[in-house]
């Protein structure tokens, strides 16, 4: 899981304008592993993308790296 946390961190830090504010934390849920991604509120739009396109791309890449585990990438909406 540390491998996937580092992969998500690398990807998200590359996309945002405030890489120092990026945090990725792994937790277990009833439906498997979840990676919670927190970014600077100003970067939320960049990470989600138009109609969620960027968030979807991040999930697809992480799924392809997560060979023998199921993992969900959750982008935390800091305003909610």
């Amino acid at each position: 899981m540390t491998k996937l946390v580092a992969a998500v961190e690398h990807i998200v830090k590359g996309i945002v304008q405030h890489p120092d504010d990026v945090q990725v934390a792994a937790r277990s849920s009833a439906r498997g592993q979840v990676l919670d991604v927190t970014v600077n509120p100003k970067d939320l739009g960049r990470v989600i993308g138009r109609s969620g396109k960027t968030a979807k791309a991040i999930r697809t890449v992480i799924d392809s790296l997560a060979t023998d585990e199921s993992v969900r990438v959750n982008i935390v909406d800091v305003d909610s």
Partner: protein
């Protein structure tokens, strides 16, 4: 963010370096052993990742390649402030996809030969539509794109 904007070779080289650094680190994090090759063709950077054996098998699936290409473009754009059209190839994914596109054109041409007045292909990126247009022209048919944004697709007609 205009796609038609002209870019210099130096800018494309800068793009490919940034992309290669990002991908190399990602492969490193993921414990995947891959070799990177950079090529510049028709004013696009093409980054190819290859590996011995099947280590890239999951990442070389069309959906994964499209997704990673999208991410790499955003990373590059974030650094340069310019729109990036770079193309990513993982484990020969581009060749495989070109084979799929050729088969789509083949089936469309069969429909036209059977009497259809036109054949419509599924929505594709500008890069893939360009490949389709040249495959169609090689076969002596005509093609045009229609639809907006993610829905833009190619219509093939008898010449």
């Amino acid at each position: 963010m205009n796609e038609q904007q002209t870019v210099t070779i130096a800018e494309i080289e800068e793009e490919s370096e940034l992309a290669a650094d990002f991908i190399e680190e990602l492969l490193d994090i993921a414990d995947l052993d891959g070799d990177l090759e950079i090529e510049i063709s028709e004013r696009r950077a093409i980054i190819s990742v290859s590996a011995e054996e099947d280590v890239l098998i999951d990442l070389s699936k069309t959906d994964a390649v499209t997704a990673l290409q999208e991410i790499v473009r955003l990373v590059v754009q974030n650094k340069t402030g310019r729109y990036s059209r770079l193309v990513l190839d993982i484990g020969g994914s581009r060749k495989k996809r070109e084979g799929e596109l050729a088969r789509l054109v083949e089936r469309a041409v069969e429909r036209l030969d059977a009497g259809a007045s036109f054949a419509e292909l599924p929505p594709m990126s500008s890069y893939e539509r360009k490949i389709i247009h040249s495959l169609v022209a090689e076969r002596g048919y005509s093609s045009e794109s229609k639809g907006e944004g993610a829905q833009r697709r190619t219509i093939i007609r008898p010449a």
